[in-house]
Subunit: 496 residues, 2 copies
């Protein structure tokens, strides 16, 4: 008997986030839901990540309504979301009460599986969210962000899995957002987790396909005992996206592993999305092949293009090589954070400043916060000299507690502020939307009644929307506060 | 100590044959040769297949000169070619003397490794070529064309390897031209060959990447003992092409296997070819993602589009589904030939005729030849009823001998005929060019002195050249002789 490998398809969330800047209209997903729901997936990732931001920023669509619609259209299959721990779907730390409220509302509106991660792998930033998920009775998945550095050993990831198990997660996700997870590492980590945490703890592996090696990594993860893997139906796969679902199914034929997926239904969805994809050509990723340089540079592609555009804006496009050499030094000084939103932008921008003005002559507010522990704990010690400078620039002390412990209850104020907005519907869901996107929510509430846009249908609207501040896969147009000789300046860095 | 895995890069031959219709100009390959030659490859495939045809048909370039140039530019690395056994690089069976002469001349002009295959896996069609290679002292590689059918068991492929070993080949190639080789089959076949033929017999695995699973198959083949694998540098990889070289190298990190490739040099070549590729956009394959339907239909993509265009020409485009269902029946009747040039075209065209006019109401000359053994032996018994009809249509008897045994020495006549052509240079190489391409060679000899074309540089010439008869990856514009009620008609089927 072959061992059953379960599959999560990310076509309704991460696939279009990675390949078409998170722009796919709900209208374009609805027709495929019946096929997807009957195809035999363990879950369908369909919410969270950048979709919430994209819905209100670009699509004039209520993300909570999207969630309810998915729940209705996918009655047989678990819905799944990606949640940035204490940041929820926004870009700052929220107080525990807000985190709990968000999770409760997501569950009530139809969410089944919560994949919770923290950009620094600081498990304290996952505590509140995971506890809240457990309280709703839904599936709490604790996430390990995979990264490569001198301090990120196989043992370190296994230890993190054990800490997540102690937090009573229902499963562990090994999340490889940059396609850095090579086959042997995939095998060793999954094997190690299974040995240390027991075979009954579900291990779910998420890989992007950017480097071209990760379908092999999924094979090795499966051989090591992985229970669930993430893929995307082929017409929205590969490049910076994910490995094709059909290839995974076929790959396992004759091995000791099998899926329960119905390829006939998947082929229908494949054809359908193949027809949808070209309509979003303005948003499509230009990369369709593989990019293996990241193994050498350790710098994700999105971060590279970000830094390039920052340098060009300053007329210093020729400094790219120096910046690429500076990134590992900055990352080391910061204690080797994984390079994922927002740490990738924070480290990248600091590297740009270091090259342009000299090492740490200027420091962004975010970088000093990172150095002083306000994002949480990194896996390695930080450079004491740079920490000292961060104290000067940031005019703050270093903290070692869980960052959210410093936050005061804020729900009441959020409710009061939201209530003042035109178009606010009075529901907790709207308060949460406002809490996460205070700049964008007011306009959205006001215009919500006009109904959702389909940027794949109307090229004129699409054109206007490309000019927006957030670029999709990297949704974080981060405002930096830069101190130069004690004078603070605001610098906005938007993804290229 | 990790076991050394050797690599053949196909970027100078099969990569551009598969992705840009074999059109890459020699001029565009020359600048990369020094990097490639120093990168540590076991061999560089750079000649044979469709390149010979393309050189004289589209590029006004002498393929023999191309070979000599490669030999000069690649002094440290084996050159490698693909040879269609008794068909050489043409589309009919040649008498053994011509085969021997071709091999001898290829060796003299610089070829080191001869990968010899037969579309039907009839080893008798490899005998003359392999013997000739052995005589030159060069590397004789016997090839197994991988295919899937009810009769193609793992044992059958292993048996074929043993028969090739008996023919004293220097290595075995497992050739997966349609990306059908799944990981478990790759493992089982390579393991079986190593067990049966001894570990010292080199096994070389060639996969296309069309279905998205074959990098995993290469991993499994390596685990089973494969010695050499084929890849292509990433900027000319994937889609109907091959797995990316860089991904293979990175995939093996930390495993018990390693390559001796220098990625820094490969990145230089990658950047270089990334710049060349867009210049050939008129010839580029439209497929960049994966195509897994072939696992279900067993019909390679090129064959599908071929049949579709035949049906459309007849105003019967709506019959595609029937034709797709007819293909497996025709293939079964013919004894399950692998579907590769020319058998794919022969089976496909017969399926089209069967659907349009009723089963075997009409038979192409090629199909009756296939049924009567004139292409060689297939792996399964043929349908006796269809064989009987083939005798009627073809007005020939069935043969069971090696087809080339029926051929009389022909070198003298070829020499005499070639000598009459304007521009013939008097060399045996020119006689061979004429022998393989009697329709194309006269024009080429006449215009050769004008020098090679670069279709990537001159869009106007490129445009004109797209209209030519042979479409690149499928170079065989096959002339069929169709008998309808005893009346013979010529039908030319050119790849779509």
């Amino acid at each position: 008997m072959a061992r059953l490998i379960e599959v999560t398809d990310v076509i309704l969330r991460d696939a279009h986030q990675s390949l078409m800047a998170t722009r796919m209209a709900m209208e374009d997903m609805v027709p495929a839901c019946e096929w997807l729901d009957n195809a035999g997936y363990w879950s369908l990732e369909c919410w969270g990540g950048a979709t919430f931001d994209s819905c209100i920023r670009f699509l004039n669509e209520d993300p909570w309504e999207r969630l309810r619609t998915f729940k209705k259209l996918l009655p047989k299959t678990r819905t799944q979301m990606l949640l940035r721990g204490q940041n929820l779907l926004g870009y700052r730390h929220y107080e525990d009460g807000v985190v709990a409220r968000f999770v409760e509302k997501a569950a009530t509106n139809g969410m089944d599986v919560f994949r919770v991660f923290d950009a620094l792998n600081d498990t304290r930033n996952l505590e509140a969210a995971l506890k809240a998920v457990k309280k709703t009775g839904k599936h709490a998945q604790g996430t390990i962000c995979y990264t490569v550095s001198p301090v990120h050993t196989v043992e370190k990831f296994i230890d993190m899995a054990q800490r997540l198990q102690d937090m009573e997660v229902d499963s562990i996700c090994l999340k490889d957002m940059a396609a850095l997870l090579k086959p042997q590492a995939a095998y060793d980590i999954v094997k190690g987790i299974k040995e240390k945490c027991g075979d009954q703890l579900l291990v779910h592996v998420h890989c992007h396909s950017t480097t071209g090696v990760t379908l092999v990594s999924l094979m090795k993860a499966i051989e090591a005992g992985a229970d669930i893997v993430d893929t995307a139906i082929s017409s929205l796969s590969l490049g910076p996206g994910h490995n094709p679902t059909e290839s995974l199914v076929e790959m396992l034929e004759g091995t000791g592993y099998t899926t329960r997926l119905d390829l006939d239904l998947i082929y229908k969805a494949r054809e359908y999305f193949a027809g949808i994809r070209p309509r979003y050509k303005e948003f499509l990723s230009e990369v369709t092949g593989v990019e293996t340089e990241i193994f050498k540079s350790q710098i994700p592609g999105g971060m590279l293009s970000n830094m390039e555009s920052q340098l060009k804006q300053q007329g210093q496009g020729d400094k790219m090589k120096e910046v690429m050499e500076e990134v590992p030094r900055v990352r080391k000084a910061a204690g080797y954070p994984p390079l994922v939103t927002p740490s990738s932008q924070i480290v990248g921008t600091q590297a740009v400043f270091n090259v342009m003005m000299g090492p740490y002559k200027v420091m962004t507010g975010e970088f000093s916060d990172l150095m002083l522990g306000y994002y949480g704990k990194t896996d390695d010690e930080k450079d004491p000299g740079v920490v000292a400078k961060a104290k000067e620039f940031g005019k703050k002390e270093e903290i070692t507690c869980r960052p959210a412990d410093l936050l005061k209850p804020e729900w009441g104020k959020l409710e009061t502020d939201a209530a003042k907005l035109e178009g606010f519907n009075g529901a907790d869901e709207d308060v949460l939307t406002f809490a996460m996107f205070p700049q964008v929510a007011p306009k959205f509430f006001k215009e919500r009644s006009k109904g959702p846009l389909n940027l794949g249908k109307d090229p004129v609207v699409a054109k206007a929307a490309t000019g927006g501040p957030a670029g999709g896969a990297l949704t974080s147009a981060v405002e930096y506060e830069v101190s130069i000789n004690g004078h603070k300046q605001k610098v906005t860095v938007a993804p290229a």
